[in-house]
């Protein structure tokens, strides 16, 4: 079959191997096959203009991914066989993993579900294929995380019931509501929220802290998982950037819709990352860098370059970016202080930083740590050493949108809460900030539905009339084992045992919360 045509280049060949397998239906209506594509108001004139981000055919995907999995599981096996958990700097580090497994891993799975869904919904076959590949990648992450943590779960507490807790525990509604929000949105918002805002703009602020944290603290299993997963993330990032530019280029009517979503999802993502900030600054025995430094590098610099690039579409940087940038010097301290005092209800331990760590914090936060936070922490440390470890016996007010306790402060005055409230259809709703309040105002009918953990406890929907019962029976947090102060905990005792150090005396007080 002689052909005078030219041999296809990589780009065109890939199109034949993907989108060309699709066709315009004639026996069924286009809108019946793709029912969710237009309700968001996004206009796509020509899907042919979609540029495939990474051009992986399935056979190549299988080949490369299998190679990665082989290496990864060899490390998991070696880690388990050699009791690698004994090589970490200090068992306090494991609490970062508890936060990760209960907070992040379930949303990796939720991302799988979300991408599987949108991988069917778009009428552009190129976009569908890219989304399906991301779906199966996210399944990979969810499952390799279960496997990476499996050995830790056998040797430390707080890891044993992560998914169950994700559905119920108060602070885990922060990541859960984030992903529920994205998944319950339409397909274009889902991609803007996750592919663009989360997987492109903010991803480094999630993964680099955790994975570098693992590397700096001797956690071979997590480092290997992290870097292996990150090579998938590079594909996801490229999809995120491609998607946003494609939508913006398709029709000028899309620009204000996208801008609104960028504003919303930047803010929700930034709030979600408070948990990571606290992890970086307070939970890692060996520090990687400060949260402020990470934010400066991975958002202010990288994000700056990105939004400069998007200017030509009429997109501006996210609203309240200035508030987020200012918060980098406060967020981790405020968040840690909160978790410290509510640690009777967390599946991980908390503790006060010791002198050397406080010196590091002073150095990294020269304008804020000594001025606003050191005194409180020194006081709590003293109390703990005297046997009066502080636990807060009230329940916190949560922000209706981000669901974090409303502990954040005004951009220009860190001694004043940035609490906002509005009335909607006869009910009063509370917010941590203008950022969250604006999100509510745009879609009140959505956010009034939220399953607010503290309200649910007070309404009697969490299995008990007192916090201790809720924690044990509803949250499946084993009291005195999974929760509360690190010093004197079973994890701590076991660590001393592993290191051949003297066990703590039996009279060491662990003041229980009521």
């Amino acid at each position: 079959m002689a052909s005078k045509n030219k041999k296809l280049n990589l780009k065109d060949k890939y199109q034949y191997l993907t989108r060309d397998m699709a066709w315009e239906p004639t026996y069924e209506k286009h809108e019946d096959i793709y029912p969710d594509e237009s309700f968001e108001g996004i206009k796509i004139i020509n899907w042919d203009q979609w540029e495939d981000p990474f051009r992986l055919t399935m056979d190549t995907y299988w080949k490369y991914q299998a190679e990665k999995e082989k290496k990864l599981y060899a490390i998991f096996d070696a880690f388990a066989q050699n009791n690698g958990q004994q090589n970490i700097t200090d068992a306090r580090y494991v609490n970062a993993l508890k936060l990760f497994l209960s907070g992040i891993s379930p949303v990796e799975y939720a991302a799988y579900q979300g991408y599987a869904r949108v991988g069917r919904q778009f009428s552009g076959a190129g976009a569908r294929v890219a989304c399906q590949m991301q779906a199966i990648d996210e399944l990979r992450h969810a499952q390799t995380q279960q496997h990476a943590m499996s050995h830790y779960n056998k040797h430390f507490n707080g890891l044993h019931d992560a998914s169950y807790q994700h559905d119920r525990v108060w602070f885990l509604s922060v990541p859960k509501s984030f992903f529920d929000d994205a998944r319950s949105a339409g397909p274009f918002e889902f991609l803007t929220a996750i592919s663009f805002s989360f997987e492109y703009v903010l991803t480094n602020l999630l993964f680099v802290p955790f994975m570098s944290g693992a590397a700096y603290n001797g956690d071979m299993a997590t480092v290997t998982f992290g870097f292996s997963a990150q090579s998938d993330e590079a594909r996801h990032m490229t999809l995120g950037l491609e998607v946003i530019k494609f939508i913006l280029e398709q029709h000028e009517d899309n620009v204000p819709i996208i801008q609104k979503w960028i504003d919303k999802w930047f803010w929700r993502g930034f709030r979600l990352l408070s948990l990571v900030g606290m992890m970086m600054d307070y939970m890692l025995p060996n520090k990687v860098m400060s949260w402020a430094e990470a934010w400066e590098m991975y958002y202010e610099q990288s994000g700056g370059a990105l939004f400069k690039d998007l200017e030509r579409y009429g997109i501006r940087p996210p609203k309240y970016q200035d508030v987020a940038n200012a918060a980098k010097n406060h967020s981790s301290h405020q968040t840690w202080a909160t978790f410290y005092q509510y640690s009777q209800a967390t599946n991980f331990h908390t503790w006060m930083p010791q002198e050397e760590e406080m010196a590091w914090l002073s150095e990294k936060y020269p304008e804020t740590f000594d001025k606003y936070y050191r005194d409180r922490f020194e006081h709590w440390d003293k109390e703990q050493k005297e046997g009066n470890r502080f636990y807060n016996n009230t329940l916190p007010q949560l922000c209706q949108v981000c669901q974090i306790p409303t502990i954040m402060t005004e951009k220009d005055d860190p001694t004043v809460f940035s609490h906002r409230q509005i009335k909607h259809e006869g009910e009063r709703y509370h917010f941590c900030s203008d950022g969250c309040c604006d999100i509510f105002k745009n879609e009140p009918e959505k956010y009034i539905q939220a399953w607010m953990p503290v309200h649910q406890i007070y309404q009697g929907n969490c299995g008990g009339a007192d916090v201790a019962t809720v924690v044990e029976k509803y949250y499946h947090i084993v009291p005195g084992v999974d929760n509360m102060e690190y010093i004197g905990s079973p994890d701590h005792q076991r660590w001393l045992d592993i290191k051949g150090l003297k066990p703590l005396s039996a009279s060491r007080d662990k003041t229980a919360a009521a």
């Binding site: 079959m1 397998m21 066709w23 055919t57 056979d59 299988w62 080949k63 399906q132 056998k154 509501s177």
Partner: protein, 333 residues
């Protein structure tokens, strides 16, 4: 610093995750178990989907079927992600060798013009059916609730994409990688009378709402007739036309189909055994769709193997379904 590691401190303090222990007992778990059970959220969802406000996220009512526990549907292959890609990587290595060999030796371009045209008209358009299968399985992966069910369908989705890509590459071998063969092949799919019943059927599957109905129609009824027809019987027929080389390039499909029987059979068996109402619902779907699938494949069989072959395969499908308590119109062989 020398550290004396006492034996007690290396003893594990638990055997597995609590959810796994609740299901399988307090003992070490397999990787398949840890990866596949109770990861998905089940309660306390925050917002109703804008695209389906009558239901929640992860809602089990996206199918009419009811199971006490959807996790009782498991994968006999025990595929979680790692096991899946490992398996497929081996398969693709063999396929890659075959394609490279054919390419190097010009085994396809050496075929008579008429035979090449037959391949473009009678084999390559199945790549479009593959895309329909890919779309359907992606929807099922998103709509089904238990990971044990969902992931099997995600893997099927990517499998069909891969198999469609292999068919595409057959055409690219035929036209020196210019795309002209694919352009021609697509015209058959769109306009040739031979393909219209099947294209109509595939488009019909793309508007089914109930995810179990989709898996039944796509993965059991359609694949159940189509794969034996195309990759066994038509494969033999192509051989008779002088195109036995092509068999090398579809070995993946044959291996794939044989493997797929394991999980699809296990799935329908479990679901149908659960209750009379499940069985009746599945049976009513079979009554509706199986004849349509047969009719859709008829012209292709008539143009190649002959209709009696399709009738044989229809009877075999009937026997297969009977094993799990279901019936279909099978001409008794």
């Amino acid at each position: 610093m020398s550290v004396e590691i006492k034996t007690t401190s290396v003893e594990p303090i638990r055997n597995t995750y609590s959810a796994i222990a609740r299901r399988f007992g307090d003992k070490p778990a397999t990787r398949y178990q840890e990866a596949s059970f109770d990861l998905a959220a089940t309660t306390n969802f925050h917002y109703r989907p804008l695209w389906d406000p009558k239901r929640t996220l992860n809602d089990p009512t996206r199918t009419a079927l009811r199971m006490e526990d959807w996790y009782s549907v498991t994968d006999p292959r025990q595929f979680f992600y790692g096991a899946y890609v490992g398996n497929r990587a081996k398969m693709q290595e063999a396929a890659e060798s075959s394609f490279a060999f054919c390419d190097k030796r010009n085994l396809l371009t050496r075929l008579p013009e008429e035979t090449q045209k037959q391949l473009l008209r009678l084999l390559v358009p199945f790549r479009h059916v593959a895309l329909g299968a890919n779309m359907n399985n992606s929807k099922i992966a998103g709509d089904s609730t238990a990971t044990t069910v969902s992931q099997m369908h995600m893997f099927a989705a990517t499998d069909h994409l891969g198999m469609g890509q292999y068919l595409t590459r057959i055409a690219l071998l035929l036209d020196g990688s210019t795309g002209t063969a694919l352009d021609e092949s697509k015209t058959y799919w769109m306009d040739d009378e031979l393909w219209q019943p099947l294209r109509k059927l595939v488009e019909g599957t793309l508007v089914i709402d109930d995810w179990f109905e989709i898996t039944l129609v796509q993965n059991v009824l359609l694949d159940g007739l189509m794969y034996p027809l195309v990759y066994d019987r038509m494969d033999a027929w192509f051989g008779e036309q002088g195109a036995e080389t092509v068999s090398m390039l579809t070995e993946f499909h044959r291996d794939w189909y044989k493997e797929s029987l394991r999980w699809t059979n296990a799935m329908i068996k479990t679901v149908v055994a659960e209750s009379d109402s499940n069985r009746e619902q599945v049976q009513s779907w079979i009554d509706q769709w199986e004849p349509m699938v047969y009719e859709a494949l008829k012209p292709i069989a008539q143009a190649t193997t002959g209709l009696d072959v399709l009738d044989e395969l229809r009877a075999e499908l009937s026997v297969r379904l009977k094993k799990v308590g279901l019936q279909s119109t099978g001409v008794q062989a």
